[in-house]
Amino acid sequence: MSVSTNEFQRGIVLEISGEPWQILEFHFVNPGKGSAFTRVNLKNLKTGKVVEKTFKSGESFEEVELEYKHGMFLYKDRRNAVFTAGESKERISFPLEKLSWELNFLKDNTEIDIMYLAEEPYGIKLPAKVELKVAEAPPAVKGNTATGGKKTVILETGYSVNAPIFVSQDDVLIVNTQTGEYSGKAGA
Protein backbone atom coordinates (compact mmCIF):
# COMPACT_ATOMS: atom_id res chain seq x y z
CA MET A 1 0.00 0.00 0.00
CA SER A 2 1.28 3.43 -0.75
CA VAL A 3 1.18 6.22 1.86
CA SER A 4 1.68 9.91 1.23
CA THR A 5 3.39 12.28 3.67
CA ASN A 6 -0.09 13.54 4.63
CA GLU A 7 -0.88 10.07 5.96
CA PHE A 8 2.34 9.64 7.91
CA GLN A 9 1.97 8.20 11.38
CA ARG A 10 4.47 7.48 14.05
CA GLY A 11 5.41 3.80 13.92
CA ILE A 12 4.59 2.92 10.33
CA VAL A 13 7.33 1.37 8.21
CA LEU A 14 8.24 2.64 4.76
CA GLU A 15 10.36 1.10 2.08
CA ILE A 16 13.01 3.57 0.99
CA SER A 17 15.78 2.44 -1.39
CA GLY A 18 14.93 -1.18 -0.60
CA GLU A 19 15.31 -0.82 3.18
CA PRO A 20 12.63 -0.81 5.90
CA TRP A 21 12.48 2.52 7.75
CA GLN A 22 10.18 3.19 10.66
CA ILE A 23 8.81 6.69 11.28
CA LEU A 24 9.84 7.88 14.73
CA GLU A 25 8.75 11.49 14.42
CA PHE A 26 7.75 13.83 11.68
CA HIS A 27 6.92 17.49 11.31
CA PHE A 28 5.96 20.00 8.72
CA VAL A 29 8.49 22.49 7.31
CA ASN A 30 7.47 25.23 4.96
CA PRO A 31 10.22 27.46 3.67
CA GLY A 32 7.52 29.71 2.19
CA LYS A 33 9.40 30.07 -1.09
CA GLY A 34 8.93 26.51 -2.25
CA SER A 35 6.48 23.67 -1.73
CA ALA A 36 5.85 22.41 1.78
CA PHE A 37 8.13 19.66 3.01
CA THR A 38 7.82 17.02 5.70
CA ARG A 39 10.83 16.32 7.88
CA VAL A 40 10.96 12.79 9.27
CA ASN A 41 13.12 10.96 11.76
CA LEU A 42 13.47 7.42 10.47
CA LYS A 43 14.94 4.32 12.00
CA ASN A 44 16.37 1.63 9.79
CA LEU A 45 14.88 -1.56 11.16
CA LYS A 46 17.76 -3.70 9.96
CA THR A 47 20.63 -1.62 11.26
CA GLY A 48 18.95 0.49 13.97
CA LYS A 49 20.48 3.60 12.39
CA VAL A 50 18.40 6.78 12.87
CA VAL A 51 18.45 9.47 10.18
CA GLU A 52 16.58 12.66 9.43
CA LYS A 53 15.16 13.04 5.93
CA THR A 54 13.06 15.76 4.38
CA PHE A 55 10.55 14.93 1.68
CA LYS A 56 8.37 17.11 -0.48
CA SER A 57 4.88 17.01 1.03
CA GLY A 58 2.55 14.84 -1.00
CA GLU A 59 5.31 12.40 -1.94
CA SER A 60 4.27 8.74 -1.60
CA PHE A 61 6.09 5.67 -0.32
CA GLU A 62 5.36 1.98 -0.18
CA GLU A 63 4.37 0.88 3.28
CA VAL A 64 6.05 -2.31 4.43
CA GLU A 65 3.45 -4.87 5.47
CA LEU A 66 4.21 -6.25 8.87
CA GLU A 67 3.15 -9.37 10.70
CA TYR A 68 1.71 -8.98 14.16
CA LYS A 69 1.37 -11.35 17.07
CA HIS A 70 -0.77 -10.51 20.01
CA GLY A 71 1.29 -10.09 23.17
CA MET A 72 1.56 -8.58 26.59
CA PHE A 73 4.05 -6.39 28.42
CA LEU A 74 5.41 -8.27 31.45
CA TYR A 75 8.04 -6.10 33.08
CA LYS A 76 11.20 -4.15 32.49
CA ASP A 77 14.56 -4.46 34.16
CA ARG A 78 17.50 -2.11 33.89
CA ARG A 79 18.26 -3.08 30.33
CA ASN A 80 15.31 -4.76 28.72
CA ALA A 81 11.56 -4.69 28.40
CA VAL A 82 10.07 -8.18 28.40
CA PHE A 83 6.93 -9.29 26.57
CA THR A 84 5.06 -12.48 25.73
CA ALA A 85 4.11 -13.12 22.11
CA GLY A 86 1.46 -15.29 20.51
CA GLU A 87 -0.43 -18.24 21.89
CA SER A 88 2.76 -20.03 22.83
CA LYS A 89 3.51 -17.10 25.18
CA GLU A 90 7.03 -17.04 23.87
CA ARG A 91 9.17 -14.51 25.80
CA ILE A 92 10.64 -11.68 23.79
CA SER A 93 12.75 -8.87 25.11
CA PHE A 94 13.85 -5.59 23.59
CA PRO A 95 16.51 -3.22 24.88
CA LEU A 96 14.92 -0.23 26.66
CA GLU A 97 16.43 2.32 24.29
CA LYS A 98 14.62 0.67 21.41
CA LEU A 99 11.27 1.41 23.05
CA SER A 100 11.91 4.84 24.53
CA TRP A 101 8.61 6.24 23.23
CA GLU A 102 6.47 3.15 23.85
CA LEU A 103 7.61 2.74 27.46
CA ASN A 104 5.89 6.04 28.31
CA PHE A 105 2.61 4.18 27.95
CA LEU A 106 3.36 0.67 29.18
CA LYS A 107 2.38 -0.68 32.57
CA ASP A 108 2.52 -4.34 33.53
CA ASN A 109 0.05 -6.56 31.67
CA THR A 110 -0.73 -3.98 28.96
CA GLU A 111 -1.84 -5.85 25.85
CA ILE A 112 0.13 -4.93 22.76
CA ASP A 113 1.10 -6.38 19.41
CA ILE A 114 4.58 -7.58 18.64
CA MET A 115 5.69 -6.60 15.14
CA TYR A 116 7.55 -9.01 12.91
CA LEU A 117 9.46 -8.28 9.78
CA ALA A 118 10.52 -11.39 7.87
CA GLU A 119 9.87 -13.58 10.93
CA GLU A 120 12.06 -11.44 13.16
CA PRO A 121 10.48 -9.56 16.06
CA TYR A 122 11.70 -5.98 16.00
CA GLY A 123 9.28 -3.86 17.94
CA ILE A 124 5.85 -3.42 19.42
CA LYS A 125 2.68 -1.68 18.41
CA LEU A 126 0.77 0.08 21.15
CA PRO A 127 -3.00 0.25 21.25
CA ALA A 128 -4.14 3.63 19.83
CA LYS A 129 -5.26 4.66 23.31
CA VAL A 130 -4.19 3.50 26.75
CA GLU A 131 -5.58 4.14 30.21
CA LEU A 132 -3.09 5.33 32.80
CA LYS A 133 -3.54 6.45 36.37
CA VAL A 134 -2.42 9.90 37.52
CA ALA A 135 0.44 9.57 40.00
CA GLU A 136 0.91 13.27 40.66
CA ALA A 137 -1.27 16.27 39.89
CA PRO A 138 -0.59 19.84 41.02
CA PRO A 139 -3.62 21.67 42.42
CA ALA A 140 -5.39 23.85 39.87
CA VAL A 141 -4.91 27.61 40.13
CA LYS A 142 -8.37 29.04 40.51
CA GLY A 143 -9.62 31.44 37.89
CA ASN A 144 -6.78 30.81 35.46
CA THR A 145 -8.37 29.89 32.18
CA ALA A 146 -5.87 31.59 29.90
CA THR A 147 -3.98 28.36 29.23
CA GLY A 148 -7.23 26.78 28.13
CA GLY A 149 -7.43 25.41 31.66
CA LYS A 150 -4.48 23.03 31.35
CA LYS A 151 -1.93 21.72 33.82
CA THR A 152 0.82 19.13 33.67
CA VAL A 153 0.22 15.84 35.50
CA ILE A 154 2.55 12.86 35.92
CA LEU A 155 1.18 9.43 35.06
CA GLU A 156 1.97 6.13 36.71
CA THR A 157 4.58 5.35 34.05
CA GLY A 158 6.41 8.62 34.82
CA TYR A 159 5.19 10.26 31.61
CA SER A 160 4.01 13.90 31.89
CA VAL A 161 0.95 15.02 30.02
CA ASN A 162 -1.07 18.23 29.79
CA ALA A 163 -4.53 17.62 31.23
CA PRO A 164 -7.54 19.75 32.13
CA ILE A 165 -7.40 21.42 35.55
CA PHE A 166 -10.17 19.19 36.99
CA VAL A 167 -7.91 16.12 36.80
CA SER A 168 -6.62 14.96 40.18
CA GLN A 169 -4.37 12.26 41.58
CA ASP A 170 -5.60 8.65 41.10
CA ASP A 171 -7.86 9.62 38.19
CA VAL A 172 -7.48 7.31 35.20
CA LEU A 173 -6.77 9.16 31.95
CA ILE A 174 -7.04 8.03 28.36
CA VAL A 175 -3.90 8.94 26.44
CA ASN A 176 -3.36 8.88 22.69
CA THR A 177 -0.19 6.87 22.09
CA GLN A 178 0.44 8.46 18.66
CA THR A 179 0.57 12.02 19.88
CA GLY A 180 1.19 11.39 23.58
CA GLU A 181 -1.66 13.78 24.36
CA TYR A 182 -4.54 13.59 26.83
CA SER A 183 -7.72 12.45 25.13
CA GLY A 184 -10.17 11.98 28.01
CA LYS A 185 -10.89 10.74 31.47
CA ALA A 186 -11.73 7.03 31.80
CA GLY A 187 -15.21 6.24 33.08
CA ALA A 188 -16.28 9.88 32.61
Binding site: V29, K33, G34, F37, E52, K56, A146
Partner: protein, 338 residues
Amino acid sequence: MKQNRFLRIQQQRAKIIDAIRQFFKRKGFLEVSTPMFVKLPGMEPYLNPLPYSFADEKNKRYKGYVITSPEYSLKKLLSLGFPKLFEITKVFRQNESFGGAHNPEFTLIEWYRPHSDYRRIMKDTEELVSGLATMLYGKPAITYCGTKINLTPPWLKISVKQAFKKYAGINLDQAKTLTQFKALFRKNKYPIPHQATWDDLFYYVFLNFIEPNFPKDKPVIIYDYPLPQAALTKRKSKDSFYAERFEAYIAGIEICNAFSELTDWKEQYKRLKEECSLRKKLGKNLYGVDMDFIDALKSGMPETGGIALGIERLEMLLLNIKDINDLLALPAKELWKK
Protein backbone atom coordinates in the same frame (compact mmCIF):
# COMPACT_ATOMS: atom_id res chain seq x y z
CA MET B 1 3.05 25.85 38.52
CA LYS B 2 2.43 25.56 34.81
CA GLN B 3 0.20 28.66 35.05
CA ASN B 4 3.03 30.71 36.56
CA ARG B 5 5.32 29.66 33.75
CA PHE B 6 2.69 30.61 31.21
CA LEU B 7 2.27 34.07 32.73
CA ARG B 8 6.05 34.51 32.90
CA ILE B 9 6.38 33.70 29.19
CA GLN B 10 3.74 36.31 28.30
CA GLN B 11 5.52 38.88 30.50
CA GLN B 12 8.82 38.17 28.77
CA ARG B 13 7.17 38.44 25.36
CA ALA B 14 5.85 41.88 26.35
CA LYS B 15 9.36 42.90 27.37
CA ILE B 16 10.81 41.65 24.06
CA ILE B 17 8.27 43.47 21.90
CA ASP B 18 8.85 46.71 23.87
CA ALA B 19 12.60 46.34 23.37
CA ILE B 20 12.18 45.74 19.64
CA ARG B 21 10.14 48.95 19.30
CA GLN B 22 12.67 50.92 21.33
CA PHE B 23 15.52 49.51 19.23
CA PHE B 24 14.07 50.90 16.01
CA LYS B 25 12.73 54.14 17.48
CA ARG B 26 16.13 54.91 18.98
CA LYS B 27 17.62 54.50 15.52
CA GLY B 28 15.10 57.00 14.14
CA PHE B 29 12.75 54.58 12.33
CA LEU B 30 9.13 55.65 11.90
CA GLU B 31 6.57 53.10 13.10
CA VAL B 32 3.67 52.80 10.65
CA SER B 33 0.49 50.79 10.51
CA THR B 34 -0.92 49.45 7.21
CA PRO B 35 -4.01 47.32 6.43
CA MET B 36 -4.20 43.63 7.27
CA PHE B 37 -7.13 43.25 4.89
CA VAL B 38 -6.27 43.90 1.23
CA LYS B 39 -7.74 43.31 -2.19
CA LEU B 40 -4.60 41.81 -3.67
CA PRO B 41 -2.19 39.97 -1.39
CA GLY B 42 1.40 38.92 -2.04
CA MET B 43 1.99 36.85 -5.17
CA GLU B 44 4.46 34.39 -3.60
CA PRO B 45 3.64 31.20 -5.52
CA TYR B 46 3.97 28.89 -2.53
CA LEU B 47 2.04 30.90 0.03
CA ASN B 48 -1.66 30.44 0.55
CA PRO B 49 -3.35 33.68 1.66
CA LEU B 50 -6.64 33.44 3.57
CA PRO B 51 -9.65 34.76 1.62
CA TYR B 52 -11.76 37.21 3.58
CA SER B 53 -14.89 39.17 2.81
CA PHE B 54 -16.94 41.84 4.53
CA ALA B 55 -19.79 44.28 3.83
CA ASP B 56 -20.20 48.05 3.91
CA GLU B 57 -23.17 50.00 5.33
CA LYS B 58 -25.29 49.19 2.23
CA ASN B 59 -24.49 45.53 2.62
CA LYS B 60 -22.34 45.60 -0.52
CA ARG B 61 -19.78 42.81 -0.21
CA TYR B 62 -16.03 43.25 -0.67
CA LYS B 63 -13.79 40.29 -1.25
CA GLY B 64 -10.11 40.18 -0.58
CA TYR B 65 -7.48 38.50 1.53
CA VAL B 66 -5.75 39.02 4.82
CA ILE B 67 -2.09 39.81 4.27
CA THR B 68 0.75 37.31 4.19
CA SER B 69 3.12 40.27 4.63
CA PRO B 70 2.78 44.09 4.72
CA GLU B 71 5.49 44.40 2.05
CA TYR B 72 3.47 45.96 -0.80
CA SER B 73 1.89 48.53 1.52
CA LEU B 74 5.22 49.52 3.03
CA LYS B 75 6.82 49.86 -0.40
CA LYS B 76 3.95 52.12 -1.45
CA LEU B 77 4.87 54.38 1.49
CA LEU B 78 8.57 54.23 0.57
CA SER B 79 7.68 55.27 -2.98
CA LEU B 80 6.02 58.37 -1.51
CA GLY B 81 9.39 59.30 -0.08
CA PHE B 82 8.89 58.01 3.48
CA PRO B 83 12.03 57.75 5.63
CA LYS B 84 13.26 54.49 7.18
CA LEU B 85 10.27 52.75 8.70
CA PHE B 86 9.03 49.63 10.44
CA GLU B 87 5.76 47.87 11.08
CA ILE B 88 4.85 45.15 13.56
CA THR B 89 1.74 43.36 12.32
CA LYS B 90 -0.15 40.09 12.33
CA VAL B 91 0.05 38.11 9.09
CA PHE B 92 -1.88 35.03 8.01
CA ARG B 93 -1.01 31.94 5.99
CA GLN B 94 -2.89 28.72 5.49
CA ASN B 95 -2.00 25.12 4.61
CA GLU B 96 0.68 25.17 7.28
CA SER B 97 0.80 23.17 10.48
CA PHE B 98 -0.75 24.21 13.79
CA GLY B 99 2.39 23.95 15.88
CA GLY B 100 6.12 23.33 15.58
CA ALA B 101 7.43 26.55 14.04
CA HIS B 102 4.09 27.45 12.38
CA ASN B 103 0.77 28.98 13.37
CA PRO B 104 -1.84 30.21 10.85
CA GLU B 105 -1.50 33.75 12.24
CA PHE B 106 1.77 35.13 13.48
CA THR B 107 3.56 38.43 14.03
CA LEU B 108 6.01 39.88 11.54
CA ILE B 109 8.21 42.89 11.91
CA GLU B 110 9.27 44.41 8.63
CA TRP B 111 11.75 47.25 8.48
CA TYR B 112 13.07 49.16 5.48
CA ARG B 113 16.06 51.45 5.03
CA PRO B 114 15.85 53.71 1.95
CA HIS B 115 19.19 54.57 0.28
CA SER B 116 20.71 51.40 1.68
CA ASP B 117 20.92 47.67 0.96
CA TYR B 118 20.82 44.18 2.49
CA ARG B 119 24.28 44.52 4.07
CA ARG B 120 23.02 47.23 6.43
CA ILE B 121 19.98 45.06 7.23
CA MET B 122 22.30 42.17 8.19
CA LYS B 123 23.92 44.51 10.70
CA ASP B 124 20.54 45.61 12.11
CA THR B 125 19.52 41.96 12.54
CA GLU B 126 22.73 41.03 14.34
CA GLU B 127 22.44 44.05 16.64
CA LEU B 128 18.74 43.49 17.35
CA VAL B 129 19.01 39.79 18.21
CA SER B 130 22.23 40.01 20.23
CA GLY B 131 20.85 43.10 22.02
CA LEU B 132 17.63 41.31 23.01
CA ALA B 133 19.62 38.38 24.44
CA THR B 134 21.77 40.84 26.38
CA MET B 135 18.68 42.55 27.78
CA LEU B 136 17.28 39.19 28.96
CA TYR B 137 20.44 37.40 30.11
CA GLY B 138 23.13 40.06 30.51
CA LYS B 139 25.19 38.77 27.60
CA PRO B 140 24.72 38.13 23.86
CA ALA B 141 24.14 34.39 24.27
CA ILE B 142 21.21 32.01 24.66
CA THR B 143 20.72 28.34 25.42
CA TYR B 144 18.29 26.64 23.08
CA CYS B 145 17.28 23.00 23.56
CA GLY B 146 20.45 22.35 25.56
CA THR B 147 22.83 24.06 23.10
CA LYS B 148 24.65 27.28 23.98
CA ILE B 149 24.49 29.76 21.13
CA ASN B 150 26.82 32.72 20.93
CA LEU B 151 25.03 35.63 19.23
CA THR B 152 27.94 38.09 19.22
CA PRO B 153 28.15 39.96 15.87
CA PRO B 154 29.36 39.62 13.22
CA TRP B 155 27.60 36.34 12.42
CA LEU B 156 28.94 33.61 10.17
CA LYS B 157 28.02 34.32 6.54
CA ILE B 158 27.92 31.88 3.66
CA SER B 159 26.55 32.42 0.16
CA VAL B 160 23.93 30.05 -1.22
CA LYS B 161 26.30 29.13 -4.01
CA GLN B 162 29.11 28.25 -1.57
CA ALA B 163 26.71 26.28 0.63
CA PHE B 164 25.42 24.17 -2.27
CA LYS B 165 28.96 23.40 -3.34
CA LYS B 166 30.28 22.72 0.15
CA TYR B 167 27.45 20.61 1.58
CA ALA B 168 25.83 19.03 -1.48
CA GLY B 169 28.48 19.06 -4.21
CA ILE B 170 26.18 21.03 -6.50
CA ASN B 171 27.33 23.93 -8.64
CA LEU B 172 24.27 26.17 -8.93
CA ASP B 173 25.80 27.94 -11.93
CA GLN B 174 25.11 24.68 -13.77
CA ALA B 175 21.56 24.37 -12.42
CA LYS B 176 19.94 27.44 -13.90
CA THR B 177 17.08 25.52 -15.48
CA LEU B 178 14.93 22.67 -14.19
CA THR B 179 16.42 20.31 -16.80
CA GLN B 180 19.99 21.18 -15.78
CA PHE B 181 19.14 20.88 -12.09
CA LYS B 182 17.55 17.44 -12.62
CA ALA B 183 20.63 16.27 -14.47
CA LEU B 184 22.78 17.24 -11.46
CA PHE B 185 20.37 15.35 -9.16
CA ARG B 186 20.78 12.22 -11.28
CA LYS B 187 24.56 12.62 -11.31
CA ASN B 188 24.62 12.86 -7.50
CA LYS B 189 22.05 10.03 -7.19
CA TYR B 190 19.59 12.23 -5.30
CA PRO B 191 15.95 11.16 -5.66
CA ILE B 192 13.94 13.66 -7.72
CA PRO B 193 10.70 14.56 -5.91
CA HIS B 194 7.40 13.91 -7.62
CA GLN B 195 6.33 16.73 -10.02
CA ALA B 196 9.36 18.70 -8.97
CA THR B 197 9.64 22.37 -9.78
CA TRP B 198 13.00 24.16 -9.75
CA ASP B 199 12.16 25.46 -6.27
CA ASP B 200 11.40 21.94 -5.02
CA LEU B 201 14.86 20.75 -6.10
CA PHE B 202 16.41 23.80 -4.48
CA TYR B 203 14.67 23.11 -1.16
CA TYR B 204 15.22 19.35 -1.34
CA VAL B 205 18.97 20.02 -1.31
CA PHE B 206 18.71 22.89 1.14
CA LEU B 207 16.63 20.98 3.71
CA ASN B 208 18.37 17.61 3.39
CA PHE B 209 22.02 18.55 3.01
CA ILE B 210 22.61 22.18 3.87
CA GLU B 211 20.48 23.34 6.77
CA PRO B 212 21.16 20.23 8.94
CA ASN B 213 24.88 20.97 8.56
CA PHE B 214 24.82 24.55 9.76
CA PRO B 215 26.85 25.07 12.94
CA LYS B 216 24.62 24.72 15.99
CA ASP B 217 26.45 27.04 18.37
CA LYS B 218 26.12 30.25 16.36
CA PRO B 219 23.75 31.95 13.92
CA VAL B 220 24.32 31.68 10.18
CA ILE B 221 23.45 34.21 7.52
CA ILE B 222 22.95 32.62 4.13
CA TYR B 223 22.97 35.15 1.30
CA ASP B 224 22.71 35.75 -2.46
CA TYR B 225 19.90 33.51 -3.60
CA PRO B 226 19.45 32.35 -7.19
CA LEU B 227 16.91 34.33 -9.20
CA PRO B 228 13.97 31.87 -9.03
CA GLN B 229 14.16 32.30 -5.24
CA ALA B 230 14.18 36.07 -5.25
CA ALA B 231 11.11 37.63 -6.86
CA LEU B 232 11.21 40.96 -5.02
CA THR B 233 14.98 41.23 -4.92
CA LYS B 234 17.52 43.28 -6.79
CA ARG B 235 19.99 41.27 -8.89
CA LYS B 236 23.66 41.31 -7.92
CA SER B 237 24.46 42.74 -11.34
CA LYS B 238 22.52 43.14 -14.55
CA ASP B 239 22.88 39.58 -15.87
CA SER B 240 23.66 37.77 -12.66
CA PHE B 241 21.85 34.53 -11.74
CA TYR B 242 21.94 35.67 -8.09
CA ALA B 243 20.05 38.34 -6.20
CA GLU B 244 20.74 40.21 -2.95
CA ARG B 245 18.60 38.24 -0.53
CA PHE B 246 19.56 36.74 2.83
CA GLU B 247 18.06 34.60 5.55
CA ALA B 248 19.36 34.12 9.08
CA TYR B 249 19.19 30.74 10.84
CA ILE B 250 19.59 30.17 14.55
CA ALA B 251 19.50 26.59 15.84
CA GLY B 252 18.16 25.50 12.46
CA ILE B 253 15.22 27.94 12.72
CA GLU B 254 14.82 30.50 9.94
CA ILE B 255 14.04 33.82 11.60
CA CYS B 256 14.03 36.28 8.73
CA ASN B 257 14.12 36.95 5.03
CA ALA B 258 15.70 40.13 3.67
CA PHE B 259 16.49 41.80 0.37
CA SER B 260 18.05 44.66 -1.40
CA GLU B 261 14.65 45.57 -2.78
CA LEU B 262 13.84 45.36 -6.46
CA THR B 263 13.00 48.92 -7.50
CA ASP B 264 12.79 48.49 -11.28
CA TRP B 265 9.03 48.45 -11.95
CA LYS B 266 9.34 46.74 -15.34
CA GLU B 267 11.31 43.84 -13.95
CA GLN B 268 9.02 43.65 -10.89
CA TYR B 269 5.92 43.52 -13.10
CA LYS B 270 7.48 40.81 -15.25
CA ARG B 271 8.44 38.69 -12.23
CA LEU B 272 5.03 39.03 -10.59
CA LYS B 273 3.35 37.93 -13.82
CA GLU B 274 5.68 34.92 -13.92
CA GLU B 275 4.75 34.12 -10.32
CA CYS B 276 1.10 34.48 -11.18
CA SER B 277 1.42 31.86 -13.92
CA LEU B 278 3.34 29.60 -11.53
CA ARG B 279 0.45 29.95 -9.05
CA LYS B 280 -1.89 28.88 -11.83
CA LYS B 281 0.27 25.87 -12.63
CA LEU B 282 0.40 24.89 -8.95
CA GLY B 283 -3.38 25.15 -8.63
CA LYS B 284 -3.27 28.01 -6.09
CA ASN B 285 -6.00 30.64 -5.77
CA LEU B 286 -5.58 33.33 -8.39
CA TYR B 287 -5.68 37.11 -8.26
CA GLY B 288 -4.15 39.89 -10.30
CA VAL B 289 -0.93 41.79 -9.86
CA ASP B 290 -1.41 44.79 -7.52
CA MET B 291 -1.03 47.54 -10.11
CA ASP B 292 -1.00 50.22 -7.39
CA PHE B 293 2.20 48.58 -6.19
CA ILE B 294 3.68 48.64 -9.70
CA ASP B 295 2.58 52.29 -10.14
CA ALA B 296 4.22 53.13 -6.83
CA LEU B 297 7.50 51.65 -8.04
CA LYS B 298 7.05 53.51 -11.33
CA SER B 299 6.81 56.79 -9.42
CA GLY B 300 10.22 55.95 -8.02
CA MET B 301 11.31 54.01 -4.98
CA PRO B 302 14.88 54.63 -3.79
CA GLU B 303 17.36 51.75 -3.50
CA THR B 304 16.23 50.14 -0.25
CA GLY B 305 17.21 47.35 2.11
CA GLY B 306 14.26 45.57 3.74
CA ILE B 307 13.44 42.57 5.86
CA ALA B 308 10.64 40.48 7.38
CA LEU B 309 11.41 38.84 10.70
CA GLY B 310 9.13 36.38 12.52
CA ILE B 311 8.64 37.68 16.05
CA GLU B 312 7.36 34.42 17.55
CA ARG B 313 10.27 32.40 16.21
CA LEU B 314 12.68 34.91 17.68
CA GLU B 315 10.79 34.72 20.99
CA MET B 316 10.95 30.91 20.92
CA LEU B 317 14.72 31.09 20.54
CA LEU B 318 15.18 33.77 23.19
CA LEU B 319 12.93 31.98 25.69
CA ASN B 320 14.11 28.43 24.91
CA ILE B 321 10.71 27.20 23.71
CA LYS B 322 10.60 24.39 21.20
CA ASP B 323 6.96 24.46 20.09
CA ILE B 324 5.14 27.68 19.16
CA ASN B 325 2.06 26.29 20.94
CA ASP B 326 3.93 26.64 24.24
CA LEU B 327 4.66 30.29 23.46
CA LEU B 328 1.39 31.73 22.13
CA ALA B 329 -1.34 32.90 24.51
CA LEU B 330 -4.07 31.11 22.56
CA PRO B 331 -2.54 29.03 19.79
CA ALA B 332 -4.72 28.10 16.81
CA LYS B 333 -4.44 24.48 17.87
CA GLU B 334 -6.28 25.25 21.13
CA LEU B 335 -8.96 27.21 19.31
CA TRP B 336 -9.63 24.94 16.36
CA LYS B 337 -8.42 21.45 17.13
CA LYS B 338 -9.84 20.85 20.59
